[in-house]
């Protein structure tokens, strides 16, 4: 599906990462692999450090912390928030929606529109699409989009394919109307026939959690994983990204009438460095213009990786400059999405630590 949004903009980005950091070198000892092989994996995939929440910390905690920071810094006022969108696959509860919990904890007004969307790696682009749609309503002038996940809890400590790369984070993006005559283009694609390539088999209603689903099972390649844990079919996902994402971005740029060269940066979801380098190569984009450094510093935090890539790599530049950026999110669903947006002159573009 194609989207075009007129007179909308991003006015601020904040990423919240847990202070708790773990290093691959320390964690290597848990895997049933020779050290040399693990080090090779580290080098190829770009694993180094990741940020994880302490036990008991949830998505609403990261979100409330980030929003409170913005209130304290006078970068946002509570009453200005007309819509609160939370995109997550790790909600605090099945019931009530976590966006309501965040609303309650911050004492936001009753007129605020609250929505919980379940999405992961494509969740930033999907959240932006949702936010820009909401801004069409007269009563909605400012949207707060939160992409947050604490999926480290669902990574098997004995699964070398998943565990070293998962990170936890939250991002808060403020969306508002633009006085300038701007157009934002986006594309969204879905393929549920490949849904099982990225899945947590147990925990939902299809297979509720039991003591059986918590048991670690041999899953091949010397890895152990439970049905409660996140499963990713690495090869299928790699192929999916290589095959589907380049044509999507090409089509988006064609729709917008914009050439690859005029795009300053491609901010993609950050599964790992290897996948992004291969993607950049396939699309003939220099690695410098498709940053791939989020996993090595913070880990793969699902929907928050794109805003983390932006806040981490651009920092203060976005306060004064205006850049043409292409965003691309892809993952669970399977879903793949891309957005072309002019990003700049924002009120804030920072990373803070949650303690």
């Amino acid at each position: 599906m194609n989207f075009a949004f007129h007179r909308k903009r991003i006015s601020g980005l904040l990423t919240v990462v847990p202070a708790n950091e773990r290093s691959f070198i320390e964690e290597m000892k848990n895997f049933n692999f020779p050290e040399a092989r693990s080090l090779k994996l580290k080098e190829v995939m770009g694993y180094d450090r990741r940020r994880l929440v302490e036990p008991g910390v949830c998505v609403s905690d990261l979100a409330v912390f980030g929003l409170q920071h913005l209130f304290d810094q006078a970068l946002l006022k509570p009453d200005e928030i007309d819509a609160l969108l939370l995109v997550t696959q790790s909600p605090d509860h099945f019931m009530p929606p976590t966006s309501n919990i965040i609303q309650g904890r911050l004492g936001l007004k009753q007129d605020v529109f609250c929505l919980d969307i379940s999405q992961g790696c494509a969740g930033f682009v999907i959240g932006l699409i949702q936010g820009f749609q909401l801004l069409e309503q007269d009563d909605i002038r400012k949207v707060v989009l939160i992409n947050a996940d604490v999926l480290s809890r669902k990574a098997s400590p004995k699964d070398r394919n998943i565990n070293p790369l998962i990170g936890d984070a939250a991002s808060i993006t403020v969306l508002e109307r633009d006085t300038q005559d701007s157009v934002i283009y986006a594309k969204l694609k879905m393929d549920g026939s490949r849904a099982e390539a990225l899945i947590i088999p147990a925990g939902g209603m299809r297979m509720p959690s039991t003591s059986d689903t918590a048991m670690l099972e041999e899953v091949g390649d010397n890895n152990l994983r439970a049905k409660d844990h996140l499963f990713m079919d690495g090869a299928a996902i790699f192929n999916f990204v290589q095959v589907e994402v380049p044509p999507l971005i090409e089509a988006l740029l064609a729709q917008a009438g914009v050439s690859k060269d005029s795009v300053d940066y491609f901010f993609c979801h950050q599964p790992n460095r290897f996948m992004l380098e291969k993607l950049a190569d396939k699309m003939k984009i220099p690695h410098g213009r498709m940053p791939n450094n989020v996993v090595e510093h913070f880990g793969n935090s699902s929907g928050a990786t794109i805003p983390t890539a932006i806040t981490f790599n651009l920092r203060e530049r976005l306060l004064h400059e205006n850049l043409q950026v292409c965003l691309a999110g892809f993952g669970a669903g399977l879903t793949w999405s891309a957005m072309l947006i002019s990003l700049g002159n924002v009120n804030f573009n920072t990373i803070i630590e949650y303690k």
Partner: protein
């Protein structure tokens, strides 16, 4: 938040219930009610029977069945599905989204937008809003809104005040653009500071599922629930329903320029007949215009109670003619949404029993 949507309409509604029906008179010994208390309870809540899905049937199954009926009966064409919006609090998985899973089961095209929204009681009206917004995209033909919940799986069977009122169901609503302006008035309110009134404490990420969270404990004489069951503060919910909802209904009528006389039906979310009668009395709306029977025959099926209300109480009428309807939904969040719109004539407005493929 108030909004008006134009040139949009509901064109079909189908609600799906499990075949398995359980009568209160047979069940009350299982929930440890004495004959006397059962009699009192049955009378107060006008209970009779409810539908409960078997363990292997999920809300997505009920919705897929409804969608397949619409497709096979020619009410909807696959190529007209531009978006699947799945609203539920009982999703198949944490990951991937259930709307994507349904997309795969139906073999739909890559351009179909899939969206999973987590909401309960207000989920039908919230889903309608989402559909109206998506339909601003001219390339998007129709939106299929799926509401489904199997709350019986989240309700303790030893909860004698709540279990008999619970029901499982799914619904499929087709929404499209129309030539006529047909303005739809909506108001959305939220108050998360009172979210503890209806919640499931454990099972997700705040308190993951463990052996402890599955242990039953007594919350009141004879009522045993665990932390993965729905906890309801009946009094807080009553005060919320009587205090916050009527003013919103008055407000929406003023907003749309309607009166109690100009509205043909007040189709409200159905928590139980007792509260609905109280509300009808308080708002001086006749019980004929404000049906309260869904819990008595199906159970409180979360966001599906409103489509159930439409199909069971006004199904034939809505298929024949257009009716002025005031919707009101309230519950989990806490959230409360009201809407006024003209509905019908619909291509389909019926309830069917679920058949496993």
């Amino acid at each position: 938040m108030k909004c008006i949507f134009k040139n949009k309409r509901i064109s079909a509604v189908i609600s799906v219930v499990p075949k398995e029906e359980y009568r209160f008179d047979d069940e009350y010994p299982l929930v440890k009610l004495t004959a006397d208390k059962a009699k009192r309870f049955k009378k107060m809540m006008s209970l009779d029977r409810h539908r409960i899905a078997p363990p292997d049937v999920c809300s997505s199954d009920l919705c897929v069945y409804g969608l397949q009926r619409l497709l096979s009966e020619g009410t909807l064409k696959k190529e007209d599905i531009g978006a699947l919006v799945f609203v539920s609090q009982t999703p198949d998985y944490f990951m991937p989204p259930t709307s994507n899973v349904i997309h795969g089961r139906l073999g739909l095209g890559h351009d179909v937008v899939c969206l999973d929204i987590n909401q309960g009681c207000t989920g039908f009206l919230l889903g309608l809003m989402q559909a109206f917004m998506l339909l601003e995209i001219s390339a998007l033909p129709k939106v299929v809104l799926l509401n489904g919940d199997t709350c019986s799986k989240q309700m303790s069977q030893c909860n004698r005040v709540s279990y008999p009122l619970t029901g499982d169901a799914g619904s499929v609503t087709v929404i499209e653009r129309c030539e006529a302006e047909n303005p739809i008035y909506m108001d959305v309110k939220n108050d998360g500071s009172r979210h503890q009134a209806i919640m499931i404490p454990a099972g997700a990420y705040r308190n993951p599922s463990t052996v402890e969270t599955l242990k039953l404990h007594e919350v009141e004489e004879g009522i045993m629930i665990n932390d993965e069951h729905i906890h309801m503060d009946g009094a807080a919910i009553f005060n919320f329903t009587m205090g916050d909802v009527p003013p919103q209904v008055e407000d929406i009528l003023a907003f749309s320029g309607d009166t109690r006389d100009s509205i043909n039906h007040f189709l409200f979310h159905q928590p139980n007949p007792f509260i609905l009668k109280q509300m009808a009395d308080k708002m001086k709306i006749s019980q004929a215009k404000l049906p309260n029977n869904i819990v008595s025959i199906i159970g409180n099926c979360s966001s599906v109670t409103i489509p159930m209300n439409m199909t069971i109480n006004c199904g034939e009428q809505l298929q024949r003619e257009s009716q002025r309807v005031c919707f009101s939904a309230f519950g989990v969040g806490l959230a409360w949404i009201a809407a006024v719109m003209t509905v019908g004539p619909l291509d389909v407005c019926k309830v069917v029993d679920y058949e496993k493929a």
